[in-house]
């Protein structure tokens, strides 16, 4: 009888699928890389804090000094100047913007660059008691001219102008005279707020505050104050732990992810391409580097055991679905390297394997030596 009650739903017609299997493969690969980083970062929690101010590590020491987060909010803070125009594209090798005021304690930094989007994340230091995803954090998102910011929390948030939609947006008091909106879509976590504003004519920025401690006051007030104090057009070159003898196979930087933590751990993901992504949506070449002294896998299935060697270092070589290949190298000056050519054409440009790219790399394991 109960089967009959629900029977009319058995053959409910479905519209054409919008499930994107290529995107699932790309996002899955990304998540695997993030899990490797997370597994290594957690293992490094015992490292004594050696970094006095993480923000400085994302920029050259001889450039603008890092902004020291204020300890307490000040309602009299003045607004930082806003640019007259938005960049047509961002330079992925540079940090476009910097936080001014931030709630106290958000000392870890992660910068994510791309040609059309820029993100800067400040978070509290990782502790084993508090999962990273639940830690207090502030994320600044900025898109280039002619782009909108997606309403949700997608990692790739730059969408074509007019394509973001407006569901869940509410009017907000202008930010430094510019149109602003509260975004309810990006604030499902407790004590969160998301404020987006037109930082230049036709171009938008957004700040998302998550898990703000009670002691830091109202999340919306904090989001507004952070928004008012963003520094634009900083254009600070992003320092890296690696240099290649020549640009990899004529490819140019397309996106960087650089995270530096006050625990001493860090990770760097560099993506290169010639403007076009592969069939599965990856940039053609990706390089992941993080500190990890171990020369074996982690036995947790996140980093597999080495199966070969390169120049005396334990290594693991694998091929990918789209004719690409990955080279993992363990314990190189205390670092773990993972290089992936995501399609056959890129691998061919690199000479058929990733060994040459590895050999052309000069590494700087100490953050202070990054260039």
């Amino acid at each position: 009888m109960e089967e009959k009650l629900l029977a009319p739903l058995r053959d409910v017609p479905l519209p054409p699928s919008v499930v994107d299997l290529h995107r699932a493969v790309r996002d899955g690969r990304r998540q695997v890389r993030r899990r490797r980083i997370a597994a290594t970062a957690t293992a490094g929690l015992a490292v004594v804090a050696v970094l006095a101010a993480a923000p400085a590590l994302l920029g050259r020491a001889d450039r603008s000094p890092p902004v020291t987060p204020a300890a307490t909010p000040s309602p009299t803070a003045t607004a930082a100047p806003m640019p007259a125009t938005a960049p047509a594209t961002f330079d992925p090798t540079e940090q476009y913007a910097e936080f001014g005021w931030l709630p106290a304690g958000l000392t870890d930094r992660s910068v994510r660059t791309g040609t059309n989007q820029f993100a800067l994340i400040a978070s509290t230091p990782e502790t084993s008691q508090l999962p990273v995803k639940d830690a207090p954090a502030v994320e600044l998102r900025i898109v280039s001219a002619g782009r909108d910011i997606a309403l949700g929390i997608e990692r790739d948030f730059a969408v074509a102008a007019g394509r973001a939609g407006s569901a869940g947006l509410e009017p907000a008091e202008p930010v430094n005279g510019r149109t602003a909106r509260w975004n309810a879509n990006a604030t499902v976590e407790p004590r969160s707020a998301a404020l987006r504003w037109e930082y230049a004519p036709g171009a938008w920025a957004e700040v998302i505050v998550r898990y703000l401690p009670e002691s830091a006051g109202d999340p919306r007030a904090a989001a507004r104050r952070i928004a008012l104090d963003v520094r634009y057009a900083v254009d600070r070159p992003i320092r890296l732990p690696v240099r290649f003898d020549a640009p990899p196979a004529g490819l140019k930087p397309m996106a960087y992810v650089v995270s530096v933590r006050s625990s001493g751990s860090w990770d760097v993901e560099l993506s290169y391409g010639a403007g076009k992504r592969t069939k599965y949506g990856d940039w053609p070449l990706a390089v992941l580097i993080l500190p990890r002294k171990s020369v074996s896998g982690d036995h947790g299935g996140v980093i597999g055991d080495p199966t070969s060697r390169i120049d005396g270092h334990p290594a693991r070589r694998s091929s990918s679905l789209d004719g690409g290949a990955t080279l993992q190298v363990y314990g190189v000056q205390g670092l773990y390297l993972e290089m992936s050519a995501h399609d056959r054409a890129t691998l061919r440009r690199l000479g058929g394997n990733l060994d040459g790219l590895f050999r052309s790399a000069t590494l700087q394991p100490k953050v202070a030596d990054w260039r």
């Binding site: 109960e2 009319p8 699932a24 493969v25 996002d27 690969r29 998540q31 997606a150 091929s319």
Partner: protein, 171 residues
């Protein structure tokens, strides 16, 4: 992931996509929201494919991934909002009372609490046995039966069938 495993993953998901979409549509009450659910689930499956492919029953493993993504609290909060610019095209459907009945039933099912809904969907729309549903939800067979009973009661109440005779199903 090795190329052969990636190929295996792509072939598997491609072959099971219609079934996964149908379950997701029943769980969410909306084909497009269901596709969002499937997208998240198959991405999660990619990450765990090495383990999934070694399961005794890969299909059951994947249904578990799908249902657990659905039950994830944040996911449910997130899914309250549809982030599209234009309304999705309606599914092609024949007109008539059957369609109206189906829409009423779909709307009622969507209001049944998520875990009870998952039990009803898996048992009565996808014919999964009690033990498998219990494994999928990480609970006992007894809990599945009680959730079935509560879910059916909720559904009848929502359909205005409070006086509908019980059949002993779910006991």
């Amino acid at each position: 992931m090795r190329a052969d495993l990636e190929q295996e993953y792509v072939e598997y998901v491609t072959s099971r996509l219609p079934a996964l979409r149908r379950i997701a549509c029943h769980l969410t009450g909306d084909a497009h929201r269901g596709d969002d659910l499937v997208q998240t689930a198959v991405t999660r499956l990619y990450v765990g494919w090495r383990r999934a492919r070694e399961a005794d029953n890969v299909d059951a493993y994947v249904r578990t991934v799908l249902v657990r993504v659905f039950l994830d609290e944040k996911r449910r909060l997130w899914s309250r909002v549809r982030l599209v610019d234009t309304p999705p095209e309606p599914a092609p459907a024949p007109a008539g009372d059957a369609v109206e009945d189906r829409e009423v039933l779909h709307a009622a099912l969507a209001q049944v609490p998520p875990r009870q809904r998952a039990v009803l969907v898996l048992r009565f729309l996808h014919d999964r046995p009690v033990d498998e549903v219990a494994a999928t939800l990480g609970c006992t067979a007894g809990t599945v039966k009680s959730q079935t009973s509560h879910g059916l009661a909720s559904l009848r109440r929502l359909l205005g069938m409070d006086t509908y005779a019980t059949t002993g199903e779910g006991k």
